[in-house]
């Protein structure tokens, strides 16, 4: 997946290895088009993060979830 210009969307969606991510970072220094696109994708996806409604957590789950964490 080293054709960075073609695969930017997959990179922002957490595909690819750590090495590929490092390669992408270097590529962004030399490719203005990709830099602009990656900014667009990251900003837009951050906006998407707001697209949900706050729910009440069922009372029985509040303790269960935290207990699970400390038991592990």
């Amino acid at each position: 997946m080293e054709n960075y210009c073609e695969n930017l969307l997959d990179y922002v969606n957490n595909q690819g290895t750590a090495n590929e991510a490092n390669g992408l970072m270097e590529h962004l220094h030399v490719c203005q088009r990709c830099q602009g696109n990656i900014d667009l994708y990251c900003e837009s996806l951050e906006l998407m993060q707001r697209d949900f409604t706050i729910q009440d957590v069922p009372g029985s789950l509040i303790k269960e979830i935290l207990d699970f964490v400390f038991e592990k």
Binding site: N13, S44, E46, L47, M48, R50, F52, I54, L66, F70
Partner: protein, 184 residues
């Protein structure tokens, strides 16, 4: 713990300070649960499992929050989404043994509180989404809320990957333009 900032609490969490995680949990369980609830298509059992994995990740990996790179809430939601994506990718890998990917389409279908309210201006998002076509909305949902790769979306939609890529690019551009960045 109540008077500590999120950043200070995360620092304590990395030192395995249990009351610090409990305080972060009190502040953000509702946010995390609600985000995951949507990602899971409102499946309560999966929402519970994934919420557990998210807080376990905070507790065991010492995930490092860097205040200079943005708000804690955005950081936490990004981690939440990554955990959701991993969870569903693993689940889909199991499902693939029994059915083709296209069949999966059938399955588709106080201070902190104030900060969360401000972040979740869903009315603004709803308004922006009205400017997207049905296909654009579907593609964004598959990409963002289901974590599918472009290749997988192209298989689900039965369209060339280039078409999906271009549609997603246009959709994200339109979305950003609609939400207060029209001058870019």
């Amino acid at each position: 713990m109540k008077c500590k900032s999120d950043s200070e609490l995360m620092e304590l969490v990395s030192q395995k300070h249990r009351p610090a995680l409990e305080e972060l949990y009190d502040r953000y369980i509702k946010l995390v649960y609600s985000f995951v609830f949507k990602f899971c298509g409102e499946n309560t059992e999966k929402t519970k499992e994934i919420s557990q994995l998210i807080f376990l990740k905070l507790w065991t990996t010492g995930s490092s929050y860097d205040e200079s790179k943005g708000s804690f809430i955005n950081w936490l939601l990004t981690i939440s989404r990554n955990v959701c994506i991993d969870y569903f990718r693993k689940e889909r890998a199991h499902l693939r043994n029994d059915r083709t990917l296209t069949d999966e389409r059938l399955l588709e279908d106080e201070n902190h509180a104030t900060e969360i309210d401000q972040l979740l201006d869903s009315q603004e998002i709803d308004e922006a989404k009205k400017h997207l076509t049905e296909a654009q909305l579907r593609t964004i949902n598959l990409f963002y809320w289901k974590g599918y790769t472009l290749k997988e979306i192209s298989e689900i939609e039965r369209e060339p990957i280039g078409t999906i890529k271009s549609r997603l690019h246009q959709s994200l551009m339109k979305l950003r333009r609609q939400i207060g960045n029209g001058d870019r």
